[in-house]
Amino acid sequence: MTPDLIYGLTGVAVFGIGLVGALSAQDRLRRVLALKLCSVGAGFLLVVGAWREPPAAPDPVPHALVITGIVVMVSATAVALALIRRLQTLEATDER
Amino acid sequence: MMDAPLLPLFILLTSLLAAPILFALPERAARLRTAINLGMAALKVALVGWLSIKVSQGVIYDLRFEMLPGLEFKLQADPLAILFIALSAVLWLITTIYSVGYLEHGPHRARFFGFFSLCVAATVGIALSGNLFTFLLFYELLTLATYPLVIHRGTAEALRAGRIYLIYTLAGGLVLLLGTLGLWVLAGTTDFVPGGVLADVVAENRLAAQLLFVVLIGALGVKAALVPFHRWLPIAMVAPAPVSALLHAVAVVKAGAFGIMRVVYEVFGIETAQTLGMTAPLAALAGVTIIYGSIRAITQDDIKKRLAYSTVSQVSYITLGVALASPIAAVGALAHLIHQGLMKITMFMAAGNLAEGLGVKRVSQMDGVGRAMPGTMLAFTLAALGMIGLPPLAGFVSKWYLAQGGLQADQVWVIALLLGSSLLNAIYFLPMLHRAWFRDAAPEGTGAPGRPRIGWMLAAPPVTTAVLVLVAGSFANAPFSPLEWTRFIVAIEYQE
């Protein structure tokens, strides 16, 4: 039982949970969150792939990729949330 | 005379380039439009004349352009092409004059003449195609160009008819695409070569070749209105008279018949087709169509519908002549391609004149129209008698050769068929003539209200073509007559 095995399975599980959420969530915010979970799952996978048995240093390339992925995801999340807010405003005015 | 290798291309361009100009002209520029129309049509007739002289001198025209590896866009001017192209060039000129008169105050003339031009360009392209691939290109163009013409009136009925027309012909085009592909995969070429390109393939791939034959003839049969693919033709009658005239005499139906010729003679080769055992069923199908069309024609009261069913029947004479696999029948078939065109265009233009001048659209209204419009009805009568096959009119010549061909091929049933068909022709045409000439006009508004006023542009064209019918029949053996040219072609196709 090494950390990469444990956390690799964690990552796949988190990805799977995100998958369920992305498919079933009706609530807009919850769906964004589910997608974020998927991205964390993918991040786990890459970080696990980079892990080397100490004292060997891990592979830095996947780390860089995950950082990129995190920034990309926050950008996408921000856009999705802006859409949600705007849509809500329009729906609220239409209701009145 | 100088030599111009691009001559076929120029002939194509006379109408292809006219189309965008005509589209772009403002609606009110009627004179300029007419000038362009007639100028181009006359130019085309002149160029075709030049071309036919060169071809008869043995000059070979062959233009190629590679579209996909090994697959060429190919124009060639062989005698068979000249036959068809000459028909369309001459009849286009005449029909253009007629259309200008017919649509004098109608809407959307720019659109009409644009598509009209495109339609002729497509027909010329079909005639000049040097391979099945090129043929396919123009065949589809023809569909697209004629669709707006068919629904030109823009009424709900026209649109319904147009939809049926479009679905039939595009489905036919799609099947033709399938057949072309099949040919390409099977033979590695789609070229039209006298004697065919499939002789080697047939030995190993008999079934595939048979299937290909069925597919190709089926596809072309849609436009040629072979039973059971004929349904669109009577429905398409909602089109304006000049369009119907063109559709029946030159463009669509003839393109199908012409295609059948090309496929049987130059894709399969008549011998190969015979070895495949496909000619006899084709002849039988043509026979059925001939009788079926005639019988249906009898019961139609609408003049144009009656004419349409008559076309179904008459065009199949061509197919019959091809399928009989006898050189003499082939002469008859080819001659009929021309003769039927002349006769049918006369009748449609005459029918158009009746509708325009007198409001007569049904057979039952035709009482006494002969006196009201003697010129038009004289032309109609000549053409109708020609259809029945009365000597010395054009129709007689082609029927005569077909019968001879039947004898040559030991198919005696053909004689019976032709006799039966002529009888039926008489049954549905003679009452019309009888009403027109020997009955008095109905007293109230239903009949002819005195002398109608139609311009010379409507009156002259049917008379001209009727004269041509007479001439083509009477002087069938003169040099450069359709019949003579036909013999020239048959010599090539039968490789004698």
Binding site: V71, V79, A82, A92 | -
Partner: protein, 325 residues
């Protein structure tokens, strides 16, 4: 099984999975977000365990911090817009119908099968398999920096990093396009204790952010983590209304958004001379150039993240305006 840390790992892994599941299934949306934030922090912890401190920092700061703030802000906005501020689950004008259990179960079974497949694939993959480590080790001396992750981000794969900054730019352009206006939900009243804390914390955050940027060359940290920490300053300023974006500030803001991208791209282009290709920094100046790029990018990231949090173009809108003007 001898290593006691394995137990810690197992517990942590279980907590992470449980939190992920809980955040998706909890009914209250606020709780959902809070659970997610805890989930993100624990994930960061897991990544520290996997010797990925840079990733952990980025996840904690951006993936959890900024994302959490964005989610909370949006939730507040939605509840305010629909007048459901006090309620628990709902925020919509038309309440979201609960998903039928059958659908959820079907999805769960379907996703379970996929996950199972992925687990099999993961177990079949070579553990600590081939990687870039030898290549990186070989190339590090020429990279101009000592910290490998920074070397990858800003030298070996700097093209990716440039495009990542472009993604951020695209996001802020899109967000500004989607939302505009000045007024929104009123500022939460935070009280004096908070004011005092903010006065104390803001300078410290600035220092920490700059430090993270600076230290990135040889130790975990760098432009993204530093930028995210600096963005926190912006968040605090915006939250307390210490700074209210005005239409007149848009020009400067636009400049700040594009600064990182423009500087990065320009440097990448201009180094291509004397036989070098784009992105190939001359060895002597590599460290300077990388620091320059990182500095500019940090500014852009900080301002952009704060702008994403603010979430709208500051435009003065006429009354009743809702579409295009």
């Amino acid at each position: 099984m001898t290593d006691p840390l394995v137990i810690f790992d197992l517990l942590l892994a279980l907590a992470i999975v449980a939190l992920a599941a809980a955040s998706l299934s909890v009914r209250d949306l606020f709780s959902m977000i809070v659970l997610f934030i805890i989930f993100g922090l624990l994930s960061a912890l897991a990544w520290v365990r996997l010797s990925a401190p840079d990733v952990a920092l980025a996840e904690a700061a951006i993936g959890t911090g900024v994302t959490g703030a964005l989610l909370l802000k949006t939730l507040h906005h939605l509840r305010f817009a629909s007048g459901t501020l006090g309620q628990k689950a709902a925020y919509g004008v038309t309440p979201v119908a609960p998903v039928p259990m059958a659908v959820i179960m079907t999805n769960a079974v379907f996703c379970g099968l996929i996950t199972l497949g992925l687990v099999v694939a993961f177990l079949g993959a070579p553990a600590a398999g081939p990687g870039f480590d030898p290549l990186v080790a070989e190339a590090m001396p020429q990279s101009g920096v000592e910290h490998p992750v920074t070397g990858v981000l800003l030298n070996f794969r700097s093209y990716d990093t440039l495009m990542e900054v472009v993604v951020l730019l695209a996001a802020v352009v899109a967000v500004w396009q989607i939302e505009r206006g000045l007024s929104e939900a009123p500022a939460p009243a935070m009280g004096e204790v908070w004011q005092g804390f903010a006065r104390l914390a803001l300078p410290a955050i600035v220092v920490v952010g700059t430090y993270l940027l600076w230290v990135g060359a040889e130790a975990p940290g760098g432009a993204f983590q530093g930028g995210a920490v600096l963005a926190a300053v912006g968040l605090l300023l915006l939250l307390t209304r210490a700074y209210v974006p005005q239409p007149a500030h848009r020009g400067i803001a636009r400049g700040a958004f594009v600064l990182g991208t423009a500087a990065f791209a320009l440097v990448a282009l201009l180094v291509a001379s004397g036989g070098r290709v784009a992105f190939e920094y001359p060895l002597d100046h590599a460290k300077t150039l990388i620091l320059l790029i990182e500095g500019m990018v940090t500014i852009s990231i900080a301002v952009t993240l704060a702008a994403l949090f603010h979430g709208r173009e500051p435009v003065a809108l006429a009354k009743g305006d809702r579409n295009d003007t």
